[in-house]
Structure formats: structure tokens, C-alpha cells
Symmetry: C2
Subunit: 189 residues, 2 copies
């Protein structure tokens, strides 16, 4: 065996990400990291070298999702023909869809929001900021209750996403619950 090159390292990183995507999809965000390393055909130490925590792995895996959510918020904020409360509603639908990518992800996100040390914190805080912009604008039109906080909206949405991914949940459950929740957030008019 020759000394590992930088290209080997890069390749191992990619193998680990692919393996993690598979394992998390099958078993949720709490899937065994040993199992991930095994699937990647790599030693467990190599996994820890590339991703020192589970959240670091998750962050790398979800990067494009988070980017998409930020872009989507910007585009919804700029859409001229969309009522602000409907923009909020549309964004929340996409956010919960993303949060249901892996079983256990809503929990990881809630934890990362509260833990500044998490590798997932920055992305989640940015997500919360997007929700905040959409929420405030919708509240300013008077169509969305003014006493609701961003945290409540996020917790509500992730709570529904969580419920929908429990065993027994149907695929349309999130949409139905979210529609109910949005109705609860809006003011008659």
C-alpha cells in the first residue's frame, strides 16, 4: 500500500456521503455511523476524520437543501403577485418537505437550533431567518396573527413534519396538518 493521496481523501469523503445518504434514508438520522463507514468501505476512523460529529455529516449532506430553501425564500419575497401569507405558507410546505428527507431530521434541526456548537447550527439559524422575513412581512399585511413568533412557526411546522414521519402517518398528512395550522395562524378576511 502506498501513502494515501489528497485524491484518495476526496474520494473517501464522497464515498462516505453516498453511504450516509443511503443509511440515513433507510434508518433515519440515528443510523449507526459504523454502518455508514462499512457501506463506504472505509475504516471508522476515516469517517471521524472527515466528519467529527454526526451533525457535520448531516450538514454536508443537507447543504444543497438549505441553499435551496434560502433561494426559495428570496424568490417568494420578490414575487409580486403572491400574497405574503401565501408565500409563507408555500415556503413552510417546502421546508417541511425538506425536513422529512430523513426520519429524525426534524429532531436534529430543533436540537441544532438550540445548540450553537452544532455543525448544523448556522444552516438552521439561516433557515429560521428566512422564516422570520416571510413571517414579519405576512404579519405586516394584517393577515397573519401578530403575536406569533418565528420560533413558534418553526416549532409548529417541524412538529407536524415529525408527526407525519412517525409510523402510521400517511403521505398527505403534513399537507393537511399544515393547511390546518396555516388557517390557525391567519386572521379571518
Amino acid at each position: 500500500m502506498t501513502k494515501p493521496t489528497q485524491a484518495d481523501a476526496r474520494r473517501n469523503r464522497d464515498l462516505l456521503l453516498a453511504a450516509a445518504r443511503e443509511a440515513f434514508a433507510e434508518q433515519g438520522t440515528e443510523a449507526s455511523l459504523r454502518e455508514v463507514a462499512r457501506r463506504a468501505g472505509v475504516g471508522i476512523g476515516t469517517l471521524y476524520r472527515h466528519f467529527p460529529t454526526r451533525d457535520a455529516l448531516l450538514e454536508a449532506l443537507l447543504d444543497s437543501n438549505f441553499q435551496h430553501l434560502r433561494a426559495r425564500a428570496a424568490s417568494l419575497l420578490a414575487a409580486p403577485d403572491l400574497a405574503p401569507h401565501e408565500a409563507l405558507s408555500a415556503w413552510l410546505a417546502e421546508m417541511t418537505t425538506g425536513a422529512r428527507t430523513y426520519t429524525g431530521l426534524p429532531e436534529s434541526i430543533m436540537a441544532a437550533l438550540a445548540d450553537e456548537g452544532s455543525a448544523l447550527h448556522e444552516s438552521c439559524a439561516a433557515m429560521r431567518a428566512s422564516a422570520g422575513e416571510l413571517l414579519v412581512r405576512a404579519q405586516n399585511t394584517g393577515r397573519v396573527r401578530s403575536d406569533v413568533t418565528v420560533y413558534e412557526v418553526i416549532a409548529l411546522a417541524l412538529g407536524l413534519a415529525w408527526a407525519a414521519q412517525q409510523p402510521g402517518g400517511t403521505s398527505d398528512l403534513v399537507d393537511r396538518l399544515l393547511s390546518t395550522a396555516m388557517h390557525g395562524l391567519t386572521v379571518a378576511g
Copy 2:
């Protein structure tokens, strides 16, 4: 050491329940069962003899809670001066309070509802039945949306209970979210 008597067995059962209550309160429903046995001062085999599954232990621990919820539903259904949708709302508030007894309990309840083999299934199904009676009556008055199912109401309420017990959640969060959710379930009038 003499042969263990029936009284010893009974005593061990009580020690295990007290230890489990403590451990679950501190660490949630996924607390180590070895830790529970250790706290009870009993061999791990003894825990498994008395409670063959984690859900069996949980069921014994929550028995009085479930009984209380059933009684409460009956009493709310019989209250003459209470609007049916308010009875539903009041019961859901108590249900979510119960579900927040231990971190992870909302998840255990959702799982038990879907798994007929769980030792917790019967109690949870009875809980769902209580919710169903209150819901149907409230729907018959026209004040609660008729297209909502019991499962959706339970999932919604447990989702909010789950969200409120994640790190970062405040103590009044459930009440606020539940009030929003109830508003979403009701029809203007």
C-alpha cells in the same frame, strides 16, 4: 440466601417502577434499561422478567395517566355548560400535558398506536377513542371542521407536544401552539 418469595417479587416490581420513573424523568423514555435495573438494585434479568419490553414498563408507569384521561373525557362529554369544541380543546390540553411527562413519550405513543403488538397499544387506542368521541360531537355542532380525522387531531396534538419538549422549547409553547391549532380546526362563528 433463601428462596425469593412472592412478596420479594412484588417488591422488586415496585422498586423497578420507581427507578424507571426517575430514570425516564431525567433521560426520557429511551433511558438505559440497565440503568433502571441498577437504580432499582436488581439484576437486569429481573427487569426483563417483570417487564418484557420497554413499552410494558411504560404502560405500567402510565396506567393512572391513561385512566385519568378516560375519566376526563367522560366528564367533559357530560358537562352541560361546556361548548363541545371547548371540551375537545380542554381534553387535548390535558392529553398533551400527559404526553410531555417524559421526553420521547409522544414518539412512544405514536409508535404504539401503529403497532398492535405493543404493550402500550390498548391504552393508546382507548385514548384515541376518547379523542374521537369529543371530536365527532364538536363536529356535529358545526363549530369544528368536518373533514378532520381523529388521527389528524392526535398527530397534531402529539406533534406540538413533541416540539415543546425539544431543547429550546419554553414551557408555555404547547399552550400557545395548541391554541393556534384549535383556531385552525374551528370554523369562524
